[in-house]
């Protein structure tokens, strides 16, 4: 069902990264997403970065739709449908949350849902200092938050996957949650396998309907919108298309 609402608040989350808080509450599980309609522009899937009475999304400007979203101001009309998808399945024990760039959006809600600063650790990575988001939010609910940047402008210089690997070698984790670019997810999956830690990854594909019907977002026959966006490491390992190709608007395979 489309909820017609307005932008309540616009927050600069990072350089070129904007958080939009809606005027509508959204009861959702961490890791779920919504379809966001910008009237006259497009409707795109966005992970919820804030859930509860003031739900919100966090968007990085990469194309026309994300630019239009980034330019919205408080009071502007938007449409939201959802929440869709399965979300994270938080287990007991120690959890390591790994977010790459704007992939921190669905990760931060999992960190907040863990409910114990001692059992959840966070690895945040981005290209540079400006693109590191939700560090303070993470620190307020986790005792172990570490940062990497590709260019070394903040935190450790290097990839967030090598940081996660280090953290897994320091301490035993029962679960790893990851969300970021596909190449990051791919290497994170490998690191989790090497360290024998089960993981869940949030994947992304072109998505038209968002409701499990059209099949535009399928990856090896699984619908990212309805069967995901969160998949277990075992599921992802079996995907022949993961890390290799995706499908375009016409459903044709495109190499990643």
């Amino acid at each position: 069902m489309l909820i017609e609402t307005r932008v309540r608040e616009r927050i600069e989350a990072g350089k070129g990264i904007t958080t939009l808080v809606f005027d509508a509450p959204m009861e959702a599980r961490p890791g779920q997403f919504v379809m966001v309609w910008v009237p006259g522009v497009d409707e795109v899937p966005m992970s919820l970065s804030h859930i509860g009475p003031h739900a919100g999304i966090t968007v990085k400007e990469v194309g026309e739709a994300t630019k239009a979203l980034s330019c919205l101001r408080p009071g502007d009309v938007i449409g939201i449908r959802g929440p869709y998808g399965n979300g994270w399945r938080l287990s007991g024990g120690r959890i390591l949350c790994v977010g790459g760039g704007v992939g921190m959006a669905p990760i931060i809600t999992a960190v907040e849902a863990a409910g114990d600063p001692g059992r959840v650790a966070v690895a945040i990575g981005a290209r540079n200092h400006g693109e590191i988001i939700f560090e303070e939010r993470a620190r307020s609910v986790s005792n172990d938050v570490r940062i990497t940047t590709d260019d070394g402008s903040y935190g450790l210089k290097g990839t967030v996957v090598s940081l996660a690997d280090t953290m897994m070698k320091e301490k035993r984790y029962d679960l790893v949650l990851g969300c970021g670019p596909e190449v990051m997810n791919k290497f994170l999956l490998k690191a989790c396998k090497d360290n024998e830690v089960p993981c869940q990854l949030s994947l992304e594909r072109l998505m038209k309907c968002g409701a499990g019907l059209c099949g535009s977002c399928v990856i090896d026959g699984l619908r990212v919108c309805a069967d995901g966006p969160v998949f277990t490491g075992e599921q992802v390992e079996r995907m022949a298309e993961f890390g290799k190709c995706k499908r375009d608007d016409a459903g044709l395979r495109v190499k990643l």
Partner: protein, 303 residues
């Protein structure tokens, strides 16, 4: 011995539930998943000659009792679809290739390819309500339908089904044209032309402004069309529109359908809907001492 098997224009189906076109039918792997979920047959996404992107979003409006969609016939085109068919055939359930085109010659070309790919039948999309020059625009003209069906019939050996639109007062005439042209089955119905408007934004929600309504909202329409068609033509009919439970299937079969298609329920209820329906049918047959579903096809017409 109770069996859910049905025969549709010579195609053997393990049960009467077929995946409707336009739902999870764009890739071979997703068709496999639907077969694993228990569908008795699978209709592909409507495929045209060339790759098509379809419309920009919004392409779907979700309603309490259904959906309105205007995807705009996106698809990879018939050449690229060969590899998807190859994968889909591993499901071992009949694959029905849905096709869209504007002129008989193009339908014939597409049908020949689908036959080469191993399709058990073709379903001619004469009913999409939101693609200019295709679908419903040709499907409401009995003469156009007759010439499309007879060209395709002349070109392929597999059964030819025509999927019809409810958005016409000439439904029976169109169905009779399909029959006269040698068509093997009627699929009724495609979506009902509809729209939704955002009050806050003061504009239509769908990019295409109008789209096709599906789901329980249109069950009464689909049922009525099947009932009328059963009186008018001798061809087997496949009932489509708002089927979510075994009771819906029984209604459609009593109205005259030999088999049914399930589309929107895949989104609303998940893929488990196929097993729920077939389990429900088995229970009904057991309780009513029915051995074969053929015994109930069209029984509502006796009253």
């Amino acid at each position: 011995m109770t069996t859910l098997e049905v025969d549709l224009a010579g195609i053997k189906l393990r049960n009467p539930t077929i995946l409707a076109s336009g739902v999870m039918g764009e890739t071979g792997e997703s068709l496999l998943k639907v077969a694993e979920a228990g569908a008795g047959g699978l209709v592909t996404k409507s495929i045209g000659l060339e790759p098509r992107k379809g419309y920009p979003n919004p392409t779907l409006v979700e309603l309490p009792d259904g959906y309105i969609n205007a995807m705009g016939l996106p698809g990879p085109g018939i050449e690229a679809f060969a590899e998807e068919m190859e994968v889909a055939l591993r499901s071992r359930v009949p694959i029905i290739g849905s096709l869209f085109a504007a002129i008989p010659e193009d339908f014939t070309t597409l049908a020949g390819k689908m036959e080469d790919y191993g399709a058990a039948a073709v379903e001619l999309n004469l009913s999409c309500p939101h693609a200019k020059g295709y679908g419903m625009e040709v499907g409401i003209d009995p003469d156009a339908v007759r010439s499309i069906v007879s060209s395709v019939k002349g070109a392929v050996g597999i059964p030819v089904m025509a999927k019809l639109t409810p958005n016409t007062h000439r439904l029976v005439e169109v169905a009779r044209a399909v029959e006269a042209a040698g068509g093997d089955a009627i699929v009724a119905v495609n979506t009902v032309k509809a729209m939704a408007i955002s009050v806050e934004a003061r504009r239509p929600i769908l990019y295409n402004r109008t789209g096709g309504l599906s789901g329980p909202a249109i069950k009464g329409v689909g049922l009525r069309c099947v009932y009328e068609l059963h009186e008018a033509v001798a061809l087997p009919i496949v009932g489509v529109g708002g089927i979510e439970r075994s009771g819906d299937v029984l209604e459609y079969m009593m109205a005259g359908a030999s088999a049914v298609q399930v589309g929107s329920a895949v989104g609303r209820k998940g893929l488990a809907v196929f097993r729920e329906i077939t389990d429900g049918l088995m229970s009904y047959m057991g309780a009513h001492d029915l051995g074969d579903l053929r015994e109930i096809v069209g029984v509502a017409h006796a009253h």
